[in-house]
Each structure stands twice: as C-alpha cells, then as structure tokens.
Symmetry: C2
Subunit: 342 residues, 2 copies
DNA sequence: TTGAAAGCGGTACCAC
DNA sequence: GTGGTACCGCTTTCAA
C-alpha cells in the first residue's frame, strides 16, 4: 500500500494544474472530480483519468489555498491547556477529536503559552478557525471573542469550571465534586471537614470551585457542619507539617482534592499516628486505581463526562446555525464511591 | 488593554486593503510596515498612519494567504500521540513548544487518530508544515516521509523509543531504563529478575525496549542472571493472579515497568504475604511521588531529557540547512534511585 | 460535459 | 519613499 503510487523524484509537490495537464483536462475538472462536486456531471472516463493522474503524481491539495478561496476553514482550534492535562481532560480530548474528524473537521491544538489573552486571540484568529474551544486556563476577553467571531469563528466555546460571558460554554462544574464529597462525609456522621487546597498555581482553577461546592453542601446541611480549607503543597514536607498539627484542627474528616493528594495526606497522617478512618475519614477524587491500592481503600468521587449531545455535535450544530444566544452545557457527573477510608 | 482599539461593528475582519484605504496608502506599503521589511525605507509618519489604521480596525493577517504567497509556512506539526501522554512527554511538549515559539515557529498538534499512516501523512502535508515531529505511536512510512518532504517539510523527525529509516530521530531509548533497573538489582545481589510487561496496547512500544535493555544488562552480567517477562494488566485481578503464583516463579527481584505498576504489584505481593524487599526486591520507573509514599519506599529509575542542543534548536537548524544525513539524538538519561524496596 | 477566467489576501518585484 | 501589479493554488461561476 505504501509504495503503490510511484512518486516521481520531482522535488516539489504537484499542483492541481500538474494533475490537469497529465490528465489532459482543465484545472476546473480536476477540482470537480477530486471534490466529488455533485452540481456538475463528469464522465466516468474523465474521472478515472483525473484520479489516476492525481494518484500517480502523489498530489496533495494545498489547505491554505483552498481555505483562502473558500473564505472559511473547517479547522477547530483547541488552544492547548496551560496545566498538565488530567485523565478526564485527556479522555475529553481524544473523544472530541475523533468525533470532530468524523464530522470532517480538522482539529488542531495550538500552544499559546506565554501569550497574553488578546495576543493569543489574534494568533488564533490568523488561522481563521471555524470554531475555538478554549480550556479554562486560557483567559478569553470580550475583545478576544470579538476578534475571533469577526475572523470567521462561528462558535467560540469555553471549556472549564465556569462559563465566560459572551461565549458558549462546556462547563465542567467542579463545585459538584466538592458537594458530593462533603455530602458523603456528612452522611457518615462527620461534621468537621477539612478541604485540601493544592498550592500548585494551575490547580486553583479547579480547587476553588471544589471548595465552594463543599461550603455550599455544608451550609445546606446546617450549622453543625464546618468546612476548613487546608493549604497543601504536593510534597512530603508540607504533608508532614499538616499532619503534625492535625489534632489541633479538630477535624473528623477530609476531602483531599483528588486521589493523589489523598495518598500524600493519608501517608502523612498514618505516619503521625492518626487513624484513618477511625479518627479522620478521607475521600479523594478521580477514582484512580491507586486509591483502591491504599489501605484503607480510598473512597473517592468518580467523575465522568455526560451530556445529551456530544460536544462535537454541539460544535457542529453551532457552526451550521451560528448566532444564537450563548449556550451552557454541564458536562460533569460526579458521584461518591464509598470504600474503607470513610 | 482589552478594550482600547474600538473595533467597528463590521461583521468581518478587515484585509490589508482596508488598512491601506484607511491609512491612505497602498497595500504594498501596509505589508512593508507591518512586517518591518528592512529592504525598503518608509517614512515614520507613514508607518504611524499604517499602524494606527491596523490597530483601529483590529486587523489580523490571514495566515493562509500569507503562506500561499510565501510558498512555505513556519508551522511545526506535532501529530498528537495515540497513547495518553506520560509526564515525561508532557514536559517535552511544553518545552519544545515554548522554545519553538521563541524562534518564531507556530506549533500545531494535529490529531490523527484512526488514520492509516499514509493517509495521515497526506493530511499533514496539506498543511505544508516546515517540520514534522511524529511521536513513536504514529507510524511513518517511506512514502509518508517522501510526501512530507516534497510538500516542503525541511525536517521530518521521529520522536520515540527507536529511530525510523530516512527520518531524523529524537530517540528516547527505553532500553536504558530497563538496563538501569536490572543493573541496580544485580548490584543488590539479586539474580532472578522479573520484568513486568503491561498488556495495554499503547505501552508495548515502551515495554518491549525496556525488556530488551533488561535482557542485555543481564547478559552483560553473566550466566547467573536470569530475566523473566511477566505479563500484567493494570487491574487488581491480574496482579493478584500473578502474586498468587509468585513463589513458583523463583524470582528474587522485579522491575515493574513503572511506578504505577509497582504500586499495583507491591500491594498484591504484600496481600499474598510476599515480603518486599526481603523476599523480592522491587524497582519501578518514573520516580513519581507515589513511590516515595509506599512502604517500603519504592526504588525507581528516574528519567530526564537531556541533550547538547535543545530539540527546538535542532529543528531550527535542520530547517535552515536541510538535506543532511538523518541525525539521531539520544535524549533520555536514566538513573536508578535506591530506596527501601530494593 | 468541459474550459476560461476571476478572485480569495498577502508579498515582493519593478517603476515612478 | 511609495504605488501598481503579478502571482501563490484552488474553487466556482459563466460560456461554450
């Protein structure tokens, strides 16, 4: 398969004019045939001659020329996230990417580290994408949205913990994660609940809403419930320091932001002689394998992406009929999984 | 900053002709000014008028038009990897991405899931990238390399465990990881060494070379050393099954592919009453935080990317003076970190 | 059923 | 110093 079309040793790729010449037809005909243009009838022999010529020369159309002429692209731009991607985001990416390709879009991740929001929007607009999906870490200003829209983006969509004014939103509402965790702990009869707040800068975007959801769940429960934020760096020293003053905090439960922080804190608490779950119940989030390997086995908040419509279908719909009011779709389903640690 | 340039409500982005009209100059002049073209002297007042007009209109150049005219792009294409990216690859990505931007390249990750190698190469070639860096998971055929080269790619580079004929290579030689692990275990006086082989399809690409390196290190040591591959799925059932027949294997050490598999297997062995490290020494790879949290603390092979020249500089050099013989650069430095498990 | 030709937005050569 | 203009590769009327 790889070698079938004998490529001439010519050093530069042929154009549609070369294909036309070899097939003995005009460039127009080449375009009609290769794009299966339905509005024009081309005879079967001609089609074959064109196809053979294209294959023989190893013709590859020039995307820039095509989109320049067309006045639009089928590029969906996904600015690469700042923070290292978690497992959930990776699943989201592969999913939306293959779905969009099935719908005949070209998905492009474009790195924009170190650009300010307006510069970034202009850089994206240079590519004239038909849709832009910006992850939470990337700020999107009204100016940026304007530039993108006027550059031909039919859909500007934010993806993250909270919506942005003026753009459509795929909301992964992290508050529900905190809410689930705290409701679970409350249902276990715990009332003094610590909430781990990672100090890594990129995580604040997720940690803050999780805390807000935790606080909200506690308020809904009543005055007995108390939420205490617990700053923690992802290193043993920080965990040991927290564990050392654990008993002074008067907590009987902790939501650790995620399973990895759970492992860190569980180890530190156990080393400090604090029993889990007897003295302190613990729940993480992400439902990773590692949680099941801890002793006690870690309770966790499991998350999945779910919506009536796949994100790719939403994008396709917005592209085909743009101009509606900003839409919000809540993608995150969270549920507590009880194991031995709570 | 975001609101300063009052954008007219016009619904489509202005072209350089619009800028020229507003500034009262020609399109040529606009191009000269905005690109700081040094070969032509434009008076300062004119420059200002052009710049003001461009800013006022919110002008954003059209990348496709530019590259069509130029006959080449400054796009470096990074086909997105198939397998979920590990921490090492993520570090590599952010690094190369910001380095390349500094050198004024546009870095684009292009998803190609589910395309066959030659289709994928054609899809990439449509974008006329100046360089392509394909991760190990993506096959690159001689035909594909030919198409890309003729489409204007000055550098076609593979990135992964082993080089590919006809392309430059950034080699992350996984054999050294297995070699390090085994040499470490041998130095501890262990001779019957199991090597975990993850059964997840995407990991074979890494696991096989690690095993090969392990075998090689054992051979170098002498006849006393024995290597035994141990297929393992990433689930507790598979680990328990392996642990149950552990003593029949006659091994006194195991290299677990990475730290996560180490955690899985360590738990299973401990549950089966096999003492680590007394009965079986264990070493993982990646040197994750979680290894330090295990009891016994996990020995691990730590990896980092190092080379005389940054990958971005290599790409830039190849782009500027293409046509040399395929280069190979070995990026991976591996070293065993001894902790309590070995 | 096919071909000639205009034009998408920028760049760069050549005149003035 | 600045403007006119040809052209990059492709699509799409319009005419034949």
């Amino acid at each position: 398969m790889s070698q079938l079309p004998e490529q001439p040793a010519g050093m530069s790729l042929p154009t549609s004019a070369d294909v036309a010449r070899l097939a003995g037809v005009s460039r127009a005909t080449v375009s009609y045939v290769l794009n299966n243009n339905a509005t024009v009838r081309i005879s079967e022999p001609t089609r074959r001659r064109v196809r053979d010529a294209a294959a023989g020369l190893g013709y590859v159309p020039h995307a820039a020329a095509r989109s320049l002429r067309a006045g639009h692209t089928r590029t969906v731009l996904l600015p690469a996230a700042q923070a290292p991607a978690g497992p959930l985001y990776q699943r989201f990416l592969t999913r939306i990417e293959s779905d969009l390709r099935r719908l005949d879009y070209t998905v492009v991740q474009y790195g924009s580290l170190g650009l300010d929001p307006d510069e970034a929007a202009r850089a994206w607009a240079e590519l004239r994408p038909v849709a832009v999906v910006t992850p939470g870490g990337m700020a999107l200003t009204p100016y940026g949205i304007g530039v993108l829209t006027r550059s031909g983006a039919k859909a500007v969509i934010t993806l993250g913990p909270q919506p942005v004014a003026g753009a459509h939103a795929l909301v992964m509402d992290q508050r529900e994660v905190g809410g689930c965790a705290v409701r679970h702990l409350l249902s276990r009869g715990r009332h003094g609940i610590g909430v781990v707040m990672p100090q890594e800068p990129g995580l604040a975007l997720f940690a803050e809403p999780r805390l807000a959801g935790a606080v909200r769940a506690a308020e809904d429960f009543g005055v007995k419930a108390r939420i205490q934020p617990l700053p923690l760096r992802y290193d043993e020293e920080s965990a040991a320091e927290l564990a050392a003053r654990w008993r002074t905090l008067g907590l009987d439960a902790v939501f650790t932001y995620d399973d990895e922080y759970a492992m860190l804190l569980m180890r530190a608490l156990q080393d400090a002689g604090v029993d889990v779950p007897a003295e302190t119940a613990m729940i993480g989030a992400d439902d990773l394998m590692l949680g099941r390997l801890l002793r006690p086995r870690l309770s966790s908040v499991t998350m999945e992406l779910a919506s009536a419509q796949s994100p790719a279908e939403m994008i396709d719909r917005l592209v085909q009929s743009p101009g509606g009011a900003p839409e919000r779709h809540y993608l995150l389903r969270a549920a507590a999984v009880a194991r031995e640690s709570s």
